[in-house]
Symmetry: D2
Subunit: 114 residues, 4 copies
């Protein structure tokens, strides 16, 4: 699979990584941080794995689809947690949930295609 | 400086990191790799620093402008090297040089604004 | 400066990155997460910059000393914050403060030598 | 699985990442870079995945064993390639092959234990 074919998935991964890091930082500024601890934790794991998937795809690696498999899973887990707080009005969690679902879909497609 | 204000610079950094990694990989597939060794080396350094600048800005860190200072410098060095090969018709180097110059400008602005 | 000369500093940076990520995760499990929000934030910034400094030094980059300059600063800031909680008996903050001070010293030396 | 239980595997991953980046850089300085292009490519993929596995384990993530699975595979592939050049007397490839095999074993254990 070419770099060009990876492009949509790379874009989704880098956007998700940035949004997850931002969400973690914004969660840390909220009044009730304790309630958001699982969200922050998943943000960090998701950001790390998204960054890695993006890098490995940028290198055109044949291991990309394996990383995309893991990435889709952590993105869905992070989205699920963020969606709880999005319903309570937290804008950064709403944005993060959307970026995670979009990235999960792109990675799912990549993992299956491989 | 807010996450929103960092946004253009983050986008330039992640795009540059992806393009540099891709350029390194494409250089490795060229007939005369030896001639491209400095280019590959700078691609790797530039990609690493761009990823880092993007991550640190995503976290809204006050150290962002310091990283952007370093990032602007390595981007310009990488662009200068890639431009030599772009003139010889290497498309990946042309793309990379453009991404690097764009990122250098965004980082320069960020470093100075801080 | 050779890879070998960078070795001590690389080791200090990777150890610090791992300890900072671990400290963030442990802080998130504490009862009073709110009180630790600045600590978690600095852990994340410090981990990102340490990882980057280690990668750039591993590549033998001439930009290493610039990154080490930034790294020394964020390490000292993170150590200062962690030391407050270390005094209150938090073991992960104590470990983190030590790793940060050690890394700051190694990076300081590298930044000055360059 | 605790951070402490992850410790050996984290150490193997960070050591492998550093050694792979260093091997790539040293390969780029060799006379016959063309012959080493596959080695450099695998060094970069392996370094990226090792860094990621180390970060995710440092965060105590439950996705760690999935990343360790991928990491073991890329480490073995990189070791296999480096071993060819190690036989021809390239010291950086010899070091890299050893770090990769050690990391593969640690990751294999982690992936299976999970």
């Amino acid at each position: 699979m070419s770099h060009q074919q990876f492009k949509d998935c790379i874009d989704a991964c880098v956007a998700c990584a940035v949004t997850c890091s931002h969400c973690a930082t914004e969660c840390l500024k909220e009044e009730d941080v304790k309630m958001l601890s699982k969200c922050i934790q998943l943000d960090l794991e998701c950001a790390a794995i998204c960054r890695s998937a993006a890098e490995v795809m940028s290198l055109g690696s044949e291991y990309s689809h394996h990383l995309c498999r893991v990435c889709a899973d952590v993105c869905n887990a992070c989205a699920e947690e963020c969606e709880k707080h999005a319903q309570m009005g937290m804008e950064h969690c709403k944005e993060c949930a959307e970026a995670c679902r979009k990235c999960a879909a792109a990675c799912e497609k990549m993992a299956t295609a491989a």
